[in-house]
């Protein structure tokens, strides 16, 4: 009982001190949480999605609250690749947690150029390829819902980047395993899922959509059952590691995903609600292992009984 459990996990070549990462778009570029979270304790930091050029994003309103969840249509606002490297990465270098860069593009060429440039930046431990964001009208949506295109993007990034490549899947599909298998065949080191579910809300007083973009991505505790089901399905279908995302707010939530077969988890919307969520989850996983006399987190990964 006195033994401190070993929380280390690996995703491709990426070695993490524990399985708790931040989810892209919910933790800024790390710096925003520096006074609230001990960043050095994180398994990894996944930064806001980066495109080749800066993007201004969608007009407001961009967020709306729903039952146990929220909708967002940020429209992928970001500083662009070069400013990210020049302005944001220096801070991230100093924090002793691996940095994962989430990338997005409108074409296979965009993705490949992003990956080639990041290959030259040694501080980037891994790339997470966002083929799933529902907010862009082109590229993103189609890549994530078509197995052949998902594979092609993966191959392009794989060819340009020799460290860990994660591909992040959209849940807005009939058969998530089909996409996961395509991406595995394309050379991904891991799949991360889920991105947001496409949703909508209306203000009945004004009769207008609550988001200027009309539809947006649903996240938070509301989506957890769907995310967990997909992680379980995908973990049984592929041989590469799975990173579970969707509504994770507590250690109990994270452990559900690990039991379902996830090698690591990402915490998203919960960072907004409880900035300390990631650290509490790390502590809670350790406590659960200790209470069950388990020496390593490996003992629960995929440990669902049925």
């Amino acid at each position: 009982m006195a033994v401190i459990p070993d929380l280390r996990v690996r995703i491709g070549a990426l070695a993490m001190a524990n399985p708790v990462m931040t989810a892209s778009g919910t933790f800024g570029y790390g710096e925003e949480f520096a006074s609230l979270v001990n960043l050095a304790r994180l398994g990894a930091i996944v930064v806001k999605g980066i495109s080749l050029e800066p993007r201004a994003g969608n007009p407001p309103p961009r967020v709306a609250e729903t039952a146990c969840g929220m909708l967002n249509a940020i429209g992928l606002e970001n500083v662009g690749l070069e400013r990210f490297i020049a302005e944001k990465l220096p801070f991230l270098k100093g924090i002793h947690a691996p940095v994962v860069v989430n990338i997005l593009g409108d074409s296979i060429d965009d993705y490949q150029r992003l990956a080639s440039r990041l290959q030259m930046v040694p501080e980037v431990a891994a790339i997470e390829v966002n083929i799933s964001c529902p907010n862009v009208k082109h590229g993103g949506v189609a890549f994530g819902t078509d197995p052949a295109m998902a594979r092609a993007v993966t191959e392009a990034v794989r060819a340009a980047f020799d460290r860990t490549v994660l591909v992040k899947l959209s849940p807005n599909v009939t058969e998530i395993t089909e996409i996961a298998l395509a991406v595995e065949a394309g050379g991904a080191d891991a799949v991360s899922l889920i991105n947001t579910l496409l949703g909508m809300a209306i203000d009945i007083r004004t009769r207008r959509p609550r988001l200027a973009n009309i539809v947006g991505g649903l996240s938070g505790p509301a989506v957890k059952p769907v995310a967990l089901r997909m992680v379980w399905q995908v973990a049984r279908a592929v041989r590469i590691p799975v990173v579970g995302i969707g509504g994770i707010a507590t250690a109990e939530d994270a452990i559900e995903f690990l039991l379902a077969g996830a090698t690591a988890v990402q915490v998203g919307t919960a960072n907004f609600v409880n900035p300390r969520a990631t650290e509490e989850i790390i502590d809670g996983i350790a406590a659960y292992l200790q209470a069950g006399n388990m020496a390593s987190v490996q003992e629960i990964i995929g440990g669902l009984r049925s």
Binding site: F27, G28, R62, E65, N72, P221, P275
Partner: protein, 261 residues
């Protein structure tokens, strides 16, 4: 700018009118670092419905380092907050955002509408304590006397000149608080600070920009995080096609930096 996440005990709960409440929270770290115009994000319930924190301006910092918020019970979250009793505690994150910048002139006019009056107390106290000789005038507006009376008298007690306006004429000027700006006369040496409903701030900003008076406005938007992480709190920026973020570059902006409609 350091922010803190604290479990703050409610040490006092006041009712200042129908559905208007003032809570005093024991959060010394937040109090000590707070700047006038900044805000806090408050979790209104232990569970996930409602999910998100709610933003509230820092209304006042008491002499014993307590944080006050002033709010109206409107929707789900504020109604839950209104039901919190003394001795219970709330999870609070703050201080957040960029507050008011010091006036460049010796005449200061604070314009507050409805709950927009909240942050003007902290700002007024701060200005008064700065020791700089200046004249401070507060123009306060609300729908009714019920809503405004105790806030206006609290503000007067700070030692400010206060003029009131109500929609129904039950207290002070019968009409909009913006109308009172005319009282400033042609004197250009006023710095104006406005906080309240969007149309009010827009009107104040327009008048100030037209008359060359420096004007700062405190904007509200939907916010998911308050931490500059979600990028949800965008408002169109005057410069180029981009956006300003209320929780990061704001909530207080120079009127000329905002793209008004």
């Amino acid at each position: 700018m350091a922010a803190y996440q604290k479990t703050a005990t409610v040490s006092r709960r006041e009712t200042l009118g129908e559905d208007i409440f003032r809570l005093t929270l024991q959060a010394p770290e937040i109090a000590r670092h707070a700047q006038p115009g900044q805000f806090v994000m408050v979790k209104t319930v232990a569970g996930s419905d409602p999910l998100l924190r709610r933003p509230f301006s820092i209304h006042q910092i008491t002499d014993d380092d307590q944080v006050q918020i002033l709010f109206k019970a409107l929707g789900k979250g504020t109604r839950l907050l209104a039901g919190v009793a003394v001795g219970q505690s709330l999870d609070v994150v703050g201080p957040l955002g960029r507050g008011f910048s010091p006036p460049a002139t010796s005449h200061v006019c604070l314009v507050g509408g409805g709950m927009g009056i909240a942050p003007l107390f902290f700002w007024a106290s701060h200005l008064l304590r700065s020791g700089r000789p200046m004249e401070i005038l507060a123009l306060l507006g609300a729908r009714t006397r019920e809503e405004l009376a105790s806030l206006a008298s609290d503000m007067a007690q700070l030692g400010l000149s206060v003029r009131s306006a109500t929609d129904d004429g039950s207290l002070g000027h019968h009409g909009l608080v913006v109308d009172l700006l005319a009282d400033l006369g042609p004197e250009p040496g006023w710095s104006v600070y406005a906080c309240g409903p969007y149309p009010m701030m827009h009107a104040v900003a327009r008048q100030c920009m037209a008359s060359g008076r420096p004007c700062q406005v405190s904007l509200e938007t939907m916010m998911a995080c308050g931490l500059a992480a979600c990028l949800g709190c965008a408002v169109p920026s005057k410069a180029g096609a981009g956006y300003l973020h209320v929780c990061k570059e704001g909530p207080v902006f120079a009127a000329e930096d905002v793209a008004w409609p």
